[in-house]
Amino acid sequence: MKLMTCPINGTRPIAEFSYGGTLRVMPDPNAASDAEWSDYVFNRDNAPGIKREWWRHIPSNTWFIAERDTERDVVLRTWLHAERD
């Protein structure tokens, strides 16, 4: 069974979680060039490696960040977005 640890609710089966996309910093819409903005909207880095992603614990609707090695499919750590980088 795959497991993930929610920072609030603890370790649970992966079926209790949903993926929310890669953590990305939005450029300033007023300052970004068209090329920068279109890169943010349309392009994704799908190369395998260590990624920071949004995940949600579904029963409690807790959103948090998971650092995951997508090449090995291993969750390295999780934390609330407000807690730390």
Binding site: I8, A15, I58, P59, S60, N61, T62
Partner: protein, 202 residues
């Protein structure tokens, strides 16, 4: 009263509760019509508002406390709370406009109470959480999935309280009932009994 936090008039479990009998190993009780109130906020707004109304606050997420006369308050996250089972407190909350950074949460849940000698086995078969490992002295609240339905669970020594979205209530009831109906009736014992002397005597 805020119209959208009005309690349900008819239990979401009414059809299944009447259609099903009572399996011997697990006793099902429908608490869906119990007075209930939910709220959540940003920052510390919800906690401060509830405290200003004289309610006790669980210190950490996923903990609960009893209210003064009856009912309970459960902390479902950093800033979300469920108040259940005390009509006076619920009426006072519904009559008090929350501050701008606090929002009432619709709580038209299906609410169950399960008890009986087969409860432990029922939980083992329907949920991934090991409830027997929890310390009841910490008054835990568990948000998890049971037969695929998102639930809030408060475990007790002899009975468990379960809340879920009312629209999933009948499905949850029927799934749990189907498992419970297949369970044998073991001898009565506490789910969290710490008396293991009989094991050593054997």
């Amino acid at each position: 009263m805020h119209a959208f936090v009005a309690p349900v008039a008819v239990s979401p479990l009414v059809e299944v509760a009447f259609a099903n009998g009572k399996p011997g190993a697990v006793v099902f009780v429908d608490h869906s019509l119990t007075p209930r109130y939910g709220c959540k906020g940003k920052g510390k707004g919800a906690a401060q508002w509830l405290q200003s109304l004289g309610l006790p606050l669980p210190a950490a997420p996923n903990r609960w406390l009893p209210l003064a006369e009856e009912g309970l308050i459960a902390r479902l996250g950093m800033q979300e709370f469920l108040i259940d089972g005390n009509a006076d407190v619920v009426a006072r909350l519904q009559a008090s406009p929350p501050p701008a950074d606090v929002a009432a949460v619709l709580r038209q849940d299906a609410a169950l109470e399960l008890s009986g000698p087969g409860l432990s086995e029922l939980l083992l078969q329907t949920c991934a959480v090991d409830f027997a490992a929890l310390d009841l002295a910490e008054q835990p609240v568990v948000l998890t999935r049971m037969t695929g339905v998102g639930v809030t669970v408060i475990p007790g020594a002899s009975s468990y309280r379960i809340w879920c979205d009312g629209t999933y209530g009948a499905a949850l009831w029927e799934s749990l009932y189907a498992v419970a109906a297949d369970l044998p009736e073991p001898p009565a014992q506490s789910l969290h009994s710490t008396d293991r002397s009989s094991e050593h005597d054997a």
